[in-house]
Every structure is written in C-alpha cells, then in structure tokens.
C-alpha cells in the first residue's frame, strides 16, 4: 500500500441508533432506542398500538426530528445529512402517498424525477412488473382498490433502488395474492442486498420474513431476539410477557 493511502472498509451497519428519543409535547413516543441493523439483513418490528413503531420509522427516515439521541442510516446522520438518508431509504407508510388524479405511471414518473432516477420509463415499468401492477400503468390511482394502491406504493419505494427498505404494516389490507407478491418482492430485495425493516402486528408473518425480531413497548425496546431464531409460538409467548409487563 502506498504511503498515506487509506483502505476504507465498508461499514457493516445500515441502521445505527443510539439513545433515540422523540416527544410530542409532553408525550414520549420513543424513550431511548438503541438499535443496529446489519447491512443486507432484515428485522421485524413488533409492538402494540402506540408502542412507537411508526414514530421510530418516521424518525429514521427524517420525517420527524428526534428529540434526543442520534441515528445513522448507511452512515449518514439523520439530522445533518437528511437528503442522503432520504436517497438511501425506500419507505412504505400507512398511506400509499400517491396522487389520486394522476395515473400509476405518472405517479412513478413524478417520484422518479424527484429522486433523479435514470432511464425512468424502463425502471418504472420494471418495478410495476415486480409488484404485478404493470397492466394498470395507465389507470388513475383513484380507480384502484386499496390493495392495488399498496402494491403501487411498494413499487414507488423500490423505484430509486434504495439501500434500506422501511415498511410500516405493508401487509395491511392485502389479499393472499398481493401478500404473496409482497413476499416475493421482499425476497428479491434481500437478494439484491437491501436491508429490510418491517413494522407489523402479525407475529407469524413478520417472523417468516425477517431473521431478527424486536418488540417495542411504550417507546422502548422490550425484547430483541438478536441472533436467536424463534418460532412463532415462542415469539408470541415472549411478546405477551413483555407487553403485559408493567412499564
């Protein structure tokens, strides 16, 4: 190695959060989250309503500013380098974030232009094929069912080839066929090297998709399976134990 040359090893973490807190007024939604997600791995985030799952995703993707603590996404600070974080993440929220008066294709073209996606028409078609929505490209979003909108939302999240996928209850309102498509799309994303974080209420489904389970309760991590593989029954028992415990 030449003198002064530095070898940079790729950072193994795609998500690193330390002491992350978020308060809405006097209400604490997150009370000190320490979480690390290895690049290319997957994590299922469980927790009852109001446990902080959605807030954690919002904070990690820069939609909400943390009250305290710090977090890095793909090495980018969520406070100081928000644009780089936004470029690195693909997000599916509770709402599909699609413009109803525009067609499916126009929606993807709009988001593609905003993300600076190259070869946009071809890429938009490819992600629509991935979620089985290519026959509906010219349909206005307002004419689509809830499940179809969720699938287009997934296509929107894939569009700019993100490094990390953060999905907030992506299975909500999907029929069996759409669910199978979602699972295939997520498996493909994993094969493409993406990291995946899924927030869900469905323990068995989340466990089947992710190699690690984390349970949030009242804004804290109440359980982290780490490298331990759990079956659905063991996770259900653990989930009951930690979420029924006193704060």
């Amino acid at each position: 190695m030449a003198h002064g040359q530095v070898t940079v090893f790729p950072q193994p973490w795609t998500v690193q959060a330390r002491g992350l807190t978020k308060a809405y007024g006097y209400q604490w939604a997150l009370r000190g989250i320490d979480l690390e997600l290895r690049r290319g791995s997957s994590l299922a985030l469980f927790g009852p309503n109001g446990s902080g799952k959605t807030t954690l995703i919002k904070v990690l993707v820069t939609l909400a500013r943390p009250t305290g603590g710090e977090a890095l996404i793909e090495g980018h600070d969520i406070r100081r380098d928000a644009q780089a974080v936004r470029r690195a993440v693909g997000v599916v929220g509770h709402e599909p974030w699609l413009y109803e008066d525009l067609t499916v294709q126009e929606n993807l073209h709009f988001y593609g232009r905003m993300y600076g996606v190259s070869d946009l028409p071809r890429r938009a078609l490819a992600v629509l094929e991935q979620v089985g929505m290519d026959p509906y490209a010219q349909f206005p979003v307002r004419s689509l069912s809830h499940g179809m909108r969720r699938r287009v939302a997934l296509a929107r999240a894939f569009l700019h080839r993100p490094r990390v996928l953060l999905l907030d209850e992506p299975e909500a309102g999907l029929d069996q066929e759409a669910l199978a498509l979602l699972e295939r799309a997520l498996a493909q994303a994993r094969m493409d090297g993406m990291s995946v974080l899924i927030a869900t209420h469905d323990l068995a489904w989340g466990l089947a998709l992710a190699e690690r389970a984390v349970v949030l309760h009242r804004g804290r991590i109440a359980y982290d399976s780490g490298g331990t593989r759990l079956d659905a029954a063991a996770l259900a028992a653990t989930y009951r134990r930690v979420t029924e415990a006193a704060p």
Binding site: K58, V61, L63, A64, R65, R86, W97, L102, E106, M114
Partner: protein
C-alpha cells in the same frame, strides 16, 4: 442548480396535471372572484365619478379573498390526501419543494387574474387590462404566493385549516395589498410611473422579504 430546477419543475408539472384533471382550484377561485366582482358591480355605479378611487380596492379584495381560497388547497390537499410525507421524503432541499408548490400556486392565481381583471374592467367601466397593470399584478401575486404557500403549510397542520389561513395570512399581506391598491389606483387614473414608483418599490421589497423568509422557515413548518 439545473437538477434542483428540474425537481421544482416536476412539482409544478404534477400540480398542473392534477389541476387539469380536476379544475378544483382554478374553477373555485375563478368563480368566487367573479361573484365578488358582481357584488361590487351592484354596490358601485359603473363608470360613475370617483369609481377609479374605490375600484382598485375592490379588485384586490376580490383577488385576495379568491387567492386565500386557492391557497387553502396548496398544502391542505397534500395533507388531506396523505401525499405530503411522500413529497417530504424526496431527496431534494425543502426550498425546492417550497418553490415548486409556490410556482404552481402563482401560475393558478395568474390564470384566474388574467380572466378576472378584464371582467372587472367590463363591469365597472374601467380600462380592461392597462399594460402598466401587468407588472403590478405580477409583483403582488408573487408576494401573495410566497407568503400564502408558507401559511398554507402552517394551516395544513392545524385542525381548523380553512379558518386558520386567512387569520394568519391577511395581516402579513397588508403591505402587499396596500402597495398593489396604491399602484393600481395610479394606473387606473392614468398617472405616469413616477407617481407610483414608491408603491412598486415597496412591492419588490416585500416580495424579496417574503420569498427569502418563507423559503427559509418552510423547513421548520413541515418538520414534525
């Protein structure tokens, strides 16, 4: 810079396309402005002596009230239809999002004004669209769109959105409205530019202040 302008253009394209399909903003704002002008037409005798003194005020009342109606749709629609987080997640500076939304609102308002101002002239027996009025309308609408877009984002986060926007926006717009009325009165009276130069300078000054402050504050308004 070209890339940022491209993203501003994408937002304008998206808003214009949605508006072409629904005609939500232009129709409601245009109809409201025409209704206000018709009311003024009954209140004042067209072509009467002294009409030039009250007409500019009436014109800008119509434009401002109709504009508030349109501004209510700028961010409230994004909020109500749940598309705002998707827009805010795009890897572009917040200023670009502000500029895109503002440019679209500016375009819709100018479109309505292009129809309303001559109509106003017809009803009140004034010149249809004196060329000297063009820069005044442009400058006043720019200031209105800058402050209006910011306060539309503020109002979108509050519960009583429709009520909140005029309460917040109208006091801030007083200098722009006063200058626009003053300059328009001089134009309708056929006075030379030197007579209303100060009003135009005030308009330019407030446009710059509104543009800079609104673009700067916008980030804090949309952040949870």
């Amino acid at each position: 810079m070209t890339a940022i302008l491209g993203k501003v253009g994408a937002i304008v394209w998206k808003d214009v396309l949605a508006e072409l399909r629904t005609k939500d903003i232009v129709l409601s704002v245009g109809v409201f402005a025409v209704l206000v002008i018709i009311v003024f037409n009954f209140a004042f005798q067209p072509g009467a002596q002294g009409i030039g003194a009250v007409a500019p005020g009436a014109l800008w009342v119509a434009v401002v009230f109709a504009g508030v109606l349109g501004m209510n749709r700028a961010f409230v629609l994004e909020k109500e239809r749940g598309t705002l987080p998707g827009l805010l997640l795009c890897p572009v500076p917040r200023e670009a999002i502000f500029a895109g939304k503002m440019a679209a609102s500016l375009l819709f308002m100018l479109l309505v004004e292009a129809a309303v101002v001559p109509l106003f002239g017809v009803f009140l027996g004034l010149p249809l669209f004196p060329p000297a009025l063009v820069p005044i309308v442009l400058l006043a609408t720019l200031g209105f769109a800058a402050a209006g877009t910011l306060f539309s984002a503020v109002a979108a986060s509050s519960r009583s959105r429709e009520l909140m926007l005029p309460i917040l926006l109208l006091p801030v717009l007083v200098p722009v409205i006063l200058s626009a009325v003053g300059a328009s009165a001089a134009v309708f009276a056929g006075e030379p530019f030197g007579e209303y130069r100060t009003w135009v300078q005030v308009l330019i000054g407030f446009d710059v202040v509104y543009l800079v402050l609104s673009a700067w504050v916008f980030e804090y308004v949309v952040q949870e």
